[in-house]
C-alpha cells in the first residue's frame, strides 16, 4: 500500500494539504499519515498532540470518503524539515510528501524559515506543495 505523508502543524495551510492528500489517496488507494514534528519547546507542554492528530485524521478521512483507518497521525521529534525528510524511510516509508505552502513559521520570499522550500531542496521522494486558496 502506498503511503502519503503530510506535514501537519495544525495550521490552516497544513489542513488544506491534508485535505488534498486525502482526496488524492481516495483516487489512488493510498494511506495517509499526518506527521507532526515535536520541537524543543513543545516538549512538556500540556495536551497530547497524538490525540489531537487522531481527531483531525478522522475528520480528514470522513471529508474525503475514506475509511477512518486509512488516515492516521504520527509524531516525531525534530524540526519540521528533518522530520518530513525522514518520512521517506521506515517506519513510515512514504512514497509521496505533501506540505502546505506556508506553515506557522514561514516568511514569504525567503528560504530561511520556509519548511516547504527546505523540504523541496532536500527531498528524495516526490513532493507536492499545496497552495492555500
Amino acid at each position: 500500500m502506498t503511503t502519503v505523508a503530510v506535514g501537519y502543524d495544525f495550521s490552516d495551510h497544513a489542513h488544506r494539504a491534508a485535505q488534498w492528500a486525502a482526496a488524492y489517496a481516495q483516487r489512488c488507494g493510498a494511506d495517509v499519515v499526518l506527521v507532526h514534528a515535536i520541537g524543543l519547546r513543545e516538549h512538556g507542554e500540556p495536551g497530547n498532540p497524538l490525540v489531537e492528530l487522531a481527531a483531525v485524521s478522522a475528520e480528514i478521512a470522513a471529508g474525503a470518503g475514506l475509511e477512518e483507518s486509512r488516515v492516521r497521525g504520527a509524531l516525531d521529534y525534530g524540526d519540521a524539515c528533518s522530520v518530513l525528510l525522514r518520512c521517506a524511510s521506515a517506519p513510515i516509508d512514504a512514497s509521496l510528501l505533501v506540505v502546505g505552502t506556508r506553515g506557522h513559521d514561514a516568511h514569504a520570499g525567503l528560504l530561511l524559515g520556509s519548511t516547504s522550500l527546505e523540504v523541496a531542496e532536500h527531498a528524495t521522494i516526490p513532493l507536492v506543495i499545496v497552495p492555500t486558496d
Binding site: D9, I38, G39, L40, R41, E42, H43, G44, D76, Y77, G78, D79, A80, C81, S82, V83, R86, H104, D105, H107, L110, L111, L112, G113, T115, E118
Partner: protein, 344 residues
Amino acid sequence: MLILGGPGSHEGHEEEGHPERPERVTAVLAGVGDLDLAGDLVRVEAREATRAELIAVHDGAYLDELGAFCYGGGGDIDEDTYATYDSYSIARATAGSGLAVVDELRRRDAGVGLVVTRPPGHHALAGRAMGFCLLNNVAVAAAHLAAAGERVAIIDFDVHHGNGTQEIFWNDPRVLYVSSHQVPLFPGSGMSKEVGGPDALGATCNLPLPAGATGDVVARAYEEIAAPVLDSFAPSWVLVSAGFDAHRSDPLADLALTSGDFGALSHFAAQFTPQPGRLAFFLEGGYNLQALRASITDTLARALGEDRASEPPSSGGPGHDAVVRSAALRAAALEAAHDTKGTP
C-alpha cells in the same frame, strides 16, 4: 585560572516568553561569581568571527541569508528558533568569543575556558538554523583549531543531541564528536549506530539515554563507551558543549542529573586534555536558572581542580541496559561500515 569569553552585549537577541533568554547569562555569571576566583578570572574581549572563520563550517549562502533576514528585522525562523535585527551580529560575536578564548588558552598554555554563548550553537547545521541555534559556536572553534593541526574532541553533554556539530564533522577525522543525550527527544538524531562518515569512521560516538537516567548511568556510558574512543583518538584539545538541560529541574527534558553530576562530567572531560590550557566549555542549553547557576559552578570547580558540589551526584535511574545495548549497536555499526569499506 578561568578564561571567560562571551558576546558582550547580547540583550538584543530576545523574544518574549522564549526560554533561551538573556537571564541565562546572568545565571551563568552568578555561577562563575560563586567560585570567588578573584585574580584567577581573566575576561577575554569579544570580537566578531570573520566570514572566513564562519565559512569553515557554514555555507556562505546561509550566512548571507541569515544576515539579510536579521537586518530585515528578523522574526521566527521555525517554531523554536527566532532572530532579531541584532541577532546576526550577536551570533558572530558569540562565535568570535569562542575563538578568542581558545586563542588565549593557547597563548597562555594554562587555564580553563568558558564561552558564555548566546544564542547557543550545537543544533545549527552548515546551512540551517534550528533548535534556538544560529551559528555553531563550538564547531567554529573546533574547525579553527583543526586547521592549525590540532586533534579536537568535542564532548557534548547537553540533553539534546548536537545534530549540527555531528553533521559538520561527520566525515572529518580531525574532530571526534561524543554526545550523551535523551532519546527519544528533539532533534530525533544521535543513535548509537551513527558512527561517522567513511573517512572518519568511529569519530562520532553517541550515547543515547532514556528519560529518568541519573548521573551513575551517564557516567557508565562515558566510562564504558566514550573513554576508550577518546583514549584512542588522543585529542590535543577538548571542547565541551556544556548544556545543563539534563538537570532534573530543567523544563525542556527528562533526564535526572544534579549539578554534582555535571561536575563529574567536567572531571571526566578534563582527563583527556594532554596539557594545561586545552579545555574550554561552550554554553549550550539549560533553562532552569537556579540549576544553571549551580551546575556552572560545579562544572568549573571540578575543571579547575576544586572538589566541591552544590548537589550530590544522582543514582538509581533507568538506563544501564541502554548503555549495554549502545555499546553493542556501536560495535555492530562500525563492523558493518568497515565491511562496506573493505577494510579489516
